[in-house]
């Protein structure tokens, strides 16, 4: 889905003014957070498990070439075929080629963020009837929108909006009464059942790829990935090269982290391990299995300061715990990956020059890092991206000169003390309380008042006075 990363500010403003979106975000708020907090109570050693997750992913990335070779060999011996894709275009081409060679007409898709990343749907829809089967993805496919959350793609939609979409697309009517959740879910079940049964090709993502067995791991709660990957005659899985883990033992640990961090479950309703295509003695299952492994910038990240971002298992905990995401939703971020992980991944995959506002849209409160199941230092990476933007002169010139000026002053303690002391005395003469507008801080005072300093001196003067009088504790 083509959405531009530029104009983040305009989209954020629009999101804040969108009553429907704010209602949907309010509905979702807290749900994910509370469920995760409850789920880790059953596992007091959750912190040790996070450390294990970090080690497993760091290790796999350090030996990624070894594990990719191993995965390919084992996938081949199980009757599957591996296709590498260097970039998004090559990934789309690989999938299209497989579909054409299989003489496909109808395609059923389970949710895949890697597919979203390479713009797979638009490419497929031009040639084949392509239907998303995850209920959330189906809803946003009808609405012709990109996902706004990596595990709850339609979290921004209210029941009223979903009623309207189903009335329009399933019944050709509009303006009907608000429908109940079971009614909407049942209707989608009925419509999509026919699509599962009619599809020639099922496309899925992969939550993990297991090197020493050649296995694809898929988690869902709806069962849509299972129907998508077992009924059609061809199954195509698309995934980033970083999805590998060494063996089923490590996959089991990672699944404990993923379910708890993503939906606050101990395990999803369906956790499925696919190893190759239909065997000779089997009565069902796809005749062909293709795995498309995408690079699309990942090999570059492996060699730069952002390697740890490749540990990401796409659980969404960082965005669930982010105050900025909770205020503006996923679409404001402009591309498929929103929230803190998106603020790092979008600059990596699409270029920092096109998305330099994203690392700025962060309070650096650190909650994302605290909940990340693989301990990615998201605030550190976001700060690093701000540094990069400054170094590469992507940060606007006025901001850069402002920062330079401040740095020049801060390196001269006497002058700094004199200047801040003067400013403090001048401002304290303006009166008590706060002012509604201040020069050079119009954006800041647009949303709040600027408190005026008291007559007790600058911060440094007050600090020194406290130190002297022993009030520092």
């Amino acid at each position: 889905m083509a959405v531009s990363e530029a104009d983040f500010r305009a989209r954020a403003r629009k999101a804040l003014d969108d009553d429907n979106l704010q209602a949907a975000l309010a509905q979702a708020k807290g749900g994910f957070v509370d469920k995760r907090a409850d789920a880790i109570l059953d596992l007091p050693a959750f912190e040790q498990l996070r450390e294990r997750g970090r080690q497993i992913k760091d290790h796999t990335l350090e030996y990624l070439d070894t594990y990719l070779d191993e995965f390919e060999q084992n996938l081949n011996s199980a009757g599957g075929q591996l296709h590498y894709a260097a970039d998004a275009e090559s990934a789309r081409e690989a999938v299209l080629r497989i579909c054409r060679e299989a003489h496909a007409r109808q395609i059923i898709k389970a949710k895949t963020m890697a597919g979203e990343e390479v713009g797979l749907n638009e490419a497929l829809e031009a040639e084949f009837e392509t239907v998303e089967s995850d209920l959330g993805e189906y809803i946003i496919q009808l609405a012709k929108e990109p996902p706004s959350h990596i595990i709850a793609p339609a979290v921004h939609k209210t029941r009223g909006e979903i009623t309207e979409l189903f009335d329009t697309h399933h019944h050709g009517r509009s303006g009907g009464p608000l429908r109940e959740t079971p009614d909407l879910v049942n209707e989608a079940r009925g419509v999509l059942r026919e699509k599962f049964l009619g599809a020639d090709i099922g496309i899925s993502g992969a939550n993990f790829l297991v090197a020493d067995t050649g296995t694809i791991t898929l988690v869902t709660n709806e069962g849509n990935a299972d129907l998508s990957t077992s009924l059609p005659r061809v199954h195509i899985a698309i995934a980033g090269v970083e999805k590998l883990v060494p063996s089923m033992q490590e996959a089991s640990s990672m699944l404990r982290l993923l379910a708890r961090s993503a939906t606050g479950q101990q395990i999803t309703a369906y956790t499925t391990f696919i190893t190759g295509a239909r065997r000779e003695d089997e009565l069902d299952g796809p005749e062909e299995l293709h795995v498309v492994l995408i690079d699309n910038g990942r090999s570059r990240m492996l060699g730069n300061d952002y390697r740890e971002m490749l540990r990401c298992i796409r659980c969404g905990a960082c965005m669930n715990h982010c105050p900025v995401y909770s205020a503006i939703g996923g679409h404001a971020y402009g591309w498929v990956y929103p929230g803190p992980m998106g603020a790092v991944l979008t600059p990596m995959f699409r270029g920092l020059d096109k998305s330099s506002d994203l690392p700025q849209a962060c309070t650096l409160n650190g909650r994302c890092q605290t909940v990340c199941p693989v301990k990615i230092r998201l605030p550190h990476l976001i700060r690093q991206l701000r540094d990069d933007a400054f170094e590469q002169q992507i940060t606007p010139a006025t901001t850069r000169w402002g920062i330079r000026g401040w740095a020049w002053l801060a390196r001269r303690p006497r002058l700094y003390t004199a200047v801040t002391g003067l400013a403090q005395r001048l401002m304290s003469r303006l009166g008590r309380g706060s002012v509604r507008r201040a020069p050079l801080a119009g954006a800041w005072t647009a949303g709040r008042d600027l408190p005026l300093p008291g007559r007790g001196g600058t911060f440094q003067q007050q600090w020194q006075a406290r130190q002297r009088s022993g009030q520092d504790g």
Binding site: Q27, G31, D42, L43, L49, I56, D58, H59, Y63, L64, D65, T66, L68, D69, N74, S77, A78, H83, Y84, A85, A86, A94, D134, L135, A152, P153, T158, V185, A188, N221, E222, G223, N224, D226, L227, T229, S230, L231, V241, P246, Q249, S252, S253, I267, T268, A269, Y270, T271, F273, T275, G276, R278, D281, E282, L283, D284, G285, D295, S299, G303
Partner: protein
Amino acid sequence: MDDRDRVLTRIRGSLGRTEAPSREAARADLSARIDDTPPRPQWEATRVERFTERLEAAAGSWAGVADREAVPSMIAAWLGEAGEQPLGMAPHPLLTGLDWSPLTTPQTDLDNARHWHTAITVGYAGIAETGSIVLPSGPSRPTTPNFLPDRHIVVLSIGDIVDYMESVWDRLLADGPLPRTVNVITGPSRTADVEQTLQLGAHGPRQLHVLLLQD
């Protein structure tokens, strides 16, 4: 250079080498980093109690059954009037050899599976940690019955319940490469995609019922 070579060359370049280290070197690094036993939930209850407690927490239901001959009557009782609707079963020897009266004998032809209201299958293992059923695909365990019908009934021997998922892999891998698919199923299908409201029966079965068979 094709995409495979291009990607692998870039990856090796970023890792600062031209050839991949051996499997053994990789495994040695991994065992230096992590303990053999992963952090996992612990419980005081018995294995079977933990299994049934987690199964119920996931909205699944269960009943104990004394011997396999009692399976059809247990199913008939649980289904009630729904027992008159089309029934299907996996072609598993534990099921195909049974006398199915008072029900009509369940069908095994998968071409009809889309019309089955209820499917009966045989579990390979249960996982106490999560209350999950393990169904590896194979001639006696096709995949379709696990997902298409409205109701799914799984017959599971109590002795096949293990504590953790890892034990399932040990058992399966002892028999050779993994089957085409291993379905680990925990309760009925569900979705929360409409306003974060949990709704059962999204695409898979609306109900999951486990018959725990005494050994």
